[in-house]
């Protein structure tokens, strides 16, 4: 039934622009499939709900976290704080005061007195690093809901419906110092649904979800090819562009109505209504893109022509050669973040040469560079290891840490809340035995929302 609505509404929204490809016949078959799938899914959901409930109980026992309580007052006494602010501040022998879920004060131990009522946590050789942000995650939800490939683009789907607040993967994430993830659908179709920004600790969906929609997932090319009869970039890019243009037309029609420019109220469309935030630049387009031509198309179509906030995920192979176009677009006021990974290097057979992807992006003058894991492709806890790999091939270590913290926080429009260790921001960080890019270092403690959500001293993951 819902699918029928999809088709009907799509045509309404398009006005005289009809759907070009006669996908209606094909949709019938898919619809039946989808119906069968739903029944299955319902069964699964029930089981999952039970599991989740159990998990929540267990977790509450383990960590002693109870949402009803106010976040505690904590005083961390550590060897080093990487503030990761614009001034690139590093504070040695520092104190970080946390209260009410936020960072209250950061400073040298000699200058910051610890007030009464604060639980003092002494880790004098440890580093405090902002919580890592992964812009490309699939493990915060159920993996079986990864790809819903009904059409070549499925703009109405939303990962919010798949969020699993507690799972082993999320425990792994926070044990690795990863505190915020963008849960996105798979790249099986050109537009596969909305992403959800989620914390890696919490007991309910409302606990963990930071923003929904957190992004719209676009897969420019390099997976949707498998759809139905097999499609090429000519069709895929046409399809992506047309879907986004329909959404834009929908948004503009409503915007005109809201501004009072017309009295004719546009028809409501549940599929495209979610896109309005995208055109208001309240969330980003997170794009599965790699290979020169594909990255070029993403930059051209989404950033240059449609002026969307664009996050280039993966950006692998020879994608870094697009850097001059990105520089131009940034200079023209466009927003493009490059979140590279999980492939760290590209072996160029024609040049007989290995290129470190992050290093090449960096050297080509792309300052807004971060790192992703595509978890579970690479385990979520290995996010810093991904950055270390980037540095192994020539990236700069400090930039590598920035690419795990401030840059992705900016990319997802969260930089007013997280990404640095500054007073007023949410208390969200990892306490590390040393440099997080050193593979020997371990995250000993993770704080999210001012609460200790992982403590190796209580229960060690590894």
């Amino acid at each position: 039934m819902r699918r029928q609505q999809v088709v009907g509404n799509r045509q309404q929204a398009t006005g005289n622009r009809q759907q070009v490809i006669g996908s209606r016949q094909q949709a019938t078959g898919s619809r039946q499939q989808a119906a069968g799938g739903e029944q299955q899914a319902r069964g699964k959901t029930r089981r999952r709900a039970t599991a989740a409930a159990l998990g929540v109980g267990v977790l509450a026992l383990l960590t002693g976290v109870s949402r009803a309580e106010e976040p505690p007052k904590l005083a961390f006494v550590v060897g080093k704080v990487l503030v990761m602010d614009k001034a690139d501040t590093v504070i040695n022998n520092a104190v970080v005061l946390v209260s009410g879920g936020r960072i209250e004060r950061v400073g040298k131990a000699s200058e910051v007195a610890i007030p009464q009522g604060y639980r003092r946590i002494d880790m004098p050789r440890h580093w405090i690093v902002p919580g890592f942000v992964d812009c490309h995650n699939h493990t915060a939800g159920s993996l079986s809901d990864l790809n819903d490939m009904v059409y070549l683009s499925n703009p109405g789907l939303d990962t919010l419906n798949t969020v699993q607040p507690e799972s082993d993967d999320m425990w792994m994430a926070r044990a690795g110092g990863v505190t915020t993830v963008l849960l996105i659908p798979g790249s099986g179709t050109n537009i596969s649904g909305f992403g959800t920004i989620s914390k890696t600790a919490g007991q309910s969906v409302s606990d963990v979800v930071v923003r929904s929609p957190g992004s719209i997932k676009v897969a420019q090319a390099g997976n949707p090819e498998r759809y139905w009869w097999g499609v090429g970039r000519m069709f895929m890019n046409f399809n992506t562009r047309q879907t986004l243009e329909k959404a834009q037309a929908y948004h503009e029609a409503w915007a005109a109505f809201e501004r009072g420019e017309t009295t004719e109220k546009p028809a409501f469309d549940p599929i495209f209504d979610g896109f309005r935030g995208l055109f208001r630049k309240e969330f980003v387009a997170s794009v599965h893109t790699q290979i020169y031509q594909v990255v070029m198309t993403t930059v051209d179509m989404l950033a240059r022509k449609m002026d969307l906030r664009t996050v280039l995920d993966h950006s692998e192979f020879d994608g870094w050669k697009v850097a001059p176009l990105i520089r131009e677009a940034l200079a023209a006021g466009r927003s493009i973040y490059t979140i590279q990974g999980p492939r760290a290097y590209h072996l160029d057979g024609t040049q007989r040469k290995i290129h470190g992807n992050a290093a090449r992006w960096w050297q080509a003058g792309n300052p807004l560079l971060g790192i992703n894991t595509d978890a579970p492709v690479v385990a979520q806890e290995q996010l810093p290891f991904q950055a270390a790999m980037g540095c192994y091939y020539g990236w700069v270590p400090y930039e590598g840490i920035k690419g795990l913290t401030r840059i992705p926080a900016e990319a997802l429009l969260l930089d007013d809340q997280i990404g640095t260790i500054e007073a007023g921001k949410q208390a969200e960080f990892g306490v590390w035995t040393g440099d997080p890019l050193d593979t020997r270092s371990a995250c000993e403690m993770t704080v999210i929302g001012g609460r200790i959500v992982y403590d190796a001293g209580v229960r060690r993951r590894w």
Binding site: N16, R17, Q18, V20, I21, A221, W229, G230, V231, G232, R233, M234, F235, M236, N237, F238, R241, Q242, I291, Y292, Q293, M296, T297, D300, D318, W320, K321, V322, A323, P324, L325, D348, T350, Q351, R352, K353, H355, A359, R360, W362, Q363, A364, A388, C391, Y392, Y393, G394, W395, V396, P397, G400, L437
Partner: protein
């Protein structure tokens, strides 16, 4: 800014950037002292071509140069117009989209500037490529004329919306009846769509005037026909409509002689006959009379020979296709072979073969330059060395049709887009065996390898891979060409010596082949 970027060409990202980053190409370039083969008009034994702001402003034996022109001495070389590749899917990710009616699509979305194909095009003297999807389709996407330089498709573009691809021969899995049924259906549906659109438009206009629709549907459609605006057509129909109005070119694949008649009729029936170019299959030449009667330009198959055996006698019959087409007086274009390892890859080789088989030299040269330019509607802008045309010039080391000739330099719109002296890839490929093992030049001269660098540095023992120092890497510039060549003297002299020895090798092997043929060949 655009021009600066062009120098770091997409086609050459990997191989041979010609000028340093940031260097602005000169606005005025004079190529002096070369033999000029303009294709249009007589050859000039020793002349000058002046290119100003991308366009040719003078061609002749004596040309007065502006004071600010950069003079390039090309004495002993031959100047030839940039070759035009009339029809090629290479440069796309895949040859065909698997849709029957794909007229809404545009190759813009699939052209990959980083393809080796574009780089090789430059190497082969091709300055203009018509990118169009391949023949396995019913109605394909919109094609585009590009130059093989540029970081993105917009920068490469010479002419957008060059034409619509169509096939009069069955796509894989279809027979002729199915193919034609789908073709007819597409245009019948277009007519139907137009009727409905007319009615809708009439109703809209009446509503705007606050009037009732007071006529029947037939009359409404008649009245509404004039009210349709171009933007009213949806993506699915817009291009087909343009085509049916004769405002868009059609490149129709006729894979067999039997398809010519229906294709001609179809083009006439649907209003695009005046803008059709026929893309021929291997044996379509058998319908030379029909093609001649149609008088439309044709693009020949990459295989110029057509061989068939008489089913009864088993006797082999060979036909050299361009000769048949040329004799029919048709305007034709030759294509390069998509297999880069074949000689047919070179348009100049294809043209040279035509001459061997008795096609006039002018005709053969036109088939790789001005003819395809005209077919693309760019006859005034490309395809010959004439005043007012684009500064697309290929500097050959000798006659372009001699197979031992090299492309030395390629200018596109006056930009030095290719320079063999800086073609790292070719230099490396052509190196004599063992050259790589030769001792390196004294330290400080050539690029220092990593280990050496580490030894120089104090405290190099700490960690073999220090990630903190990307600037110590051999190359800090990502766009810079492939690794340094260890050849002793990478100069013109080295190259020419290399070439001479190559030539000797080739002559030797040819002699050997000839001998074996005359001894043991079946014709002996």
């Amino acid at each position: 800014m655009r021009r600066t970027r062009s120098c770091r060409v997409a086609g050459l990202i990997a191989a041979c950037a010609t000028t340093g980053a940031g260097a602005v190409p000169p606005a005025k370039v004079a190529l002096t002292g070369g033999r000029i083969v303009p294709v249009a008009g007589p050859e000039i034994e020793k002349g000058t071509i002046l290119i100003e702001h991308g366009k040719i402003t003078a061609v002749g034996a004596s040309v007065e140069l502006p004071f600010d022109a950069m003079e390039v001495d090309v004495s002993g070389k031959v100047l030839f117009p940039g070759l035009v590749n009339a029809h090629d899917w290479q440069g796309l990710d895949i040859p065909n989209e698997n849709l029957d009616i794909g007229a809404a699509l545009d190759v813009y979305d699939a052209i990959d500037p980083s393809r080796l194909f574009f780089e090789n095009s430059l190497r082969d003297g091709v300055t203009t490529v018509h990118i169009i999807q391949a023949n396995n389709c019913v109605i394909g996407g919109i094609s585009r004329v590009v130059r093989p330089i540029g970081l993105d498709v917009d920068e490469m573009t010479v002419k957008p919306r060059a034409g619509v691809k169509m096939s009069a021969s069955p796509k894989g899995g279809y027979d002729r009846m199915a193919q034609w049924a789908i073709l007819r259906e597409a245009f019948a549906e277009l007519a139907d769509y137009r009727e409905r659109l007319a009615e809708q438009r009439y109703e809209e206009e009446q509503k705007k005037l606050k009037k009732d629709v007071d006529v029947g549907p037939a009359e409404a459609r008649k009245r509404g026909a004039e009210l349709i605006r171009p933007q009213d057509y949806d993506d699915a129909h817009a291009n087909l409509h343009e085509l049916s109005q004769g405002r868009l070119d059609a490149w129709v694949y006729v894979g067999a002689a039997t398809d010519v008649g229906p294709a001609v009729k179809f083009a006439k029936d649907n209003g695009f006959f005046e803008r059709v170019v026929f893309v021929l299959g291997p044996d379509t030449f058998k319908a030379a009379d029909e093609l001649k009667a149609a008088g439309r330009p044709v693009v020949l198959d990459v295989n110029l020979d057509f061989r068939e055996r008489d089913p009864l006698t088993g006797k082999l019959k060979e036909t050299f296709v361009p000769k048949v087409i040329a004799d029919a007086g048709l305007t034709f274009a030759l294509l390069p072979h998509p297999d880069a390892s074949l000689a047919e890859r070179y348009l100049t080789y294809q043209a040279a073969r035509c001459i061997r088989e008795g096609v006039a030299r002018e005709t053969a040269l036109a088939a790789v330059t001005i003819n395809p330019a005209k077919m693309l509607g760019l006859g005034d802008a490309l395809g010959s060395l004439e005043v007012g045309k684009a500064g697309n010039v290929v500097v050959y080391s000798d006659d372009p049709l001699d197979f031992n000739t090299w492309v030395e330099q390629v200018y596109i719109d006056g930009i030095l887009a290719y320079d063999r002296a800086k073609d790292v890839r070719i230099r490396r490929l052509m190196e004599e065996p063992g050259a790589e093992e030769k001792p390196k030049a004294p330290a400080g001269d050539s690029a220092v390898s990593d280990p050496a660098q580490k030894e120089d540095k104090p405290g190099a023992g700490e960690g073999a891979t220090d990630p903190a120092k990307p600037e110590n890497k051999e190359e800090s510039q990502p766009d810079s060409p492939a690794p340094p060549t260890p050849s002793p003297e990478p100069g013109d002299d080295g190259a020419s010596v290399e070439r001479a020895s190559d030539r000797a090798d080739r002559a030797e092997s040819r002699r050997r082949k000839d001998n074996s043929k005359s001894k043991g060949g079946p014709d002996a």
